[in-house]
Amino acid sequence: MALSIEELKEKIMEKALKGPKTQLYVKDFYACDPEAKPRAVKNAANDLVKEGRMVFWSSGSTTMYAAKERAQKEQD
């Protein structure tokens, strides 16, 4: 059974906050719910950006996701 979108979002946040890496590829979140379609995972991650809990980090050619506090700390 795939997780609900809210459960999926919490799993994603957990990974973004506690994982060893600050910046994550969208693919890194697929493991949060192996049952979910890639697009559903992407949508959940994007919801978190809209809510201000995550931010995009981009080199210009690659975009990654990061928990807001962690990314901000790193940038400053």
Binding site: V26, D28, P38, N46, V49, F56, S58, S59, G60, T62
Partner: protein, 425 residues
Amino acid sequence: MPKHETPLMDDLEKGPWPSFVSDLKRQAEKNPQCWDIIGQMELSFKDRMTHWKHGGIVGVFGYGGGIVGRYSDVPEQFPGVAHFHTVRLNQPSSKFYRTDLLRKMCDLWEKRGSGMTNLHGSTGDLILLGTRTEELEPLFYDLTHDLEWDLGGSGSNLRTPECCIGKARCEWSCYDTQATCHGMTMKYQDEIHRPAFPYKFKFKFSGCPNDCVAAIARSDLSAIGTWRDNIRINQDEVKKYISGENVPNGGGIPAKAKKFDIQKEVIDLCPTGCMWMEGDALKIDDAECTRCMHCLNVMPKALRPGVDQGASVMMGAKAPILDGAQLGTLVVPFIKMDPDNEFEELVDVIEKCWDYWMEHGKNRERLGETIQRIGLPTFLRVMEIEPIPQHVKEPRSNPYVFWREEEVEGGWQRDVKEFRKKHAQ
């Protein structure tokens, strides 16, 4: 007055060609922070390394594409370019602009950024060069509310779709590239603005094999117009080319002293050798024609694409990030491009490929690299396409299409003991 000594940059103003350094200096008279760009570049030339820091948290609210963040690593020396983000604007299809909008865009950019632009970046977008983080939201607000203009794509997103001039001005266009480009831009807004992919993904649309936007070289998925039936021949016009009444190449190539020679300039140059004369009539064996466009380009009044028109889809072009540069590989030989069914066949191809690549593509791996890694036969299976001889790239090293068990009647499970009875060990 120049703020920095820049002998190396000044050197780039010499010579007969236009110089971006002169442009920068002219803009710096209006906007003094532009001196710092010249200054920082001078330092980079001296140090032989860039002083731009790569990337950062950028974007406007809810968008993960369209803005490329750059910061200076020597901001104390060059405060004018401490932040120097570029903004990508989604160019209109075929780059038909309204001049009033261009003027408004320039005014807005003088106010919110460096005032410098780049028409156009290699993805196709209109590029606004250099602004500070705090200007991004106000700029985005004015762009979308006053100019009704949106950002383009950047990062691991679908990049701004791009098309040739198509049916708007070109008699060769085999489908409506502008309708397609605009249609796909609207349909895939979410993919353009919110990163979904392992890496960037581009599509580009050319109306015919002349491929004026170089789709085959620059896009992960290119749709290039083509036809399935026969080249239309007007024999009267052929005769006029032979007699010299019609000018070859539409007059685009300066008339040569000698008379036009259809044998030498058309028939002998046909890459498949599928053309010949019968008396004064031109004949084509269309089954052999590869749609290279050569004969149509030389004799546009006499030859036209067939009437059963659509597009071929190529996949996997890329610049040389990993391995070498790669042209797109023909994957789907022909699809119809029909606005009435919202380009259903194209959408089907796009999404089948995305579904696979999003799941199986590695991080920072372009579609072309994925295809290389898994092999074309596997990719064709993913795309549910029957292999044809045109899919074979190197006959000696890759001549076989292997059967899979489900394709073989009775499968290939066998009773080894029975087998050994006939074939002694």
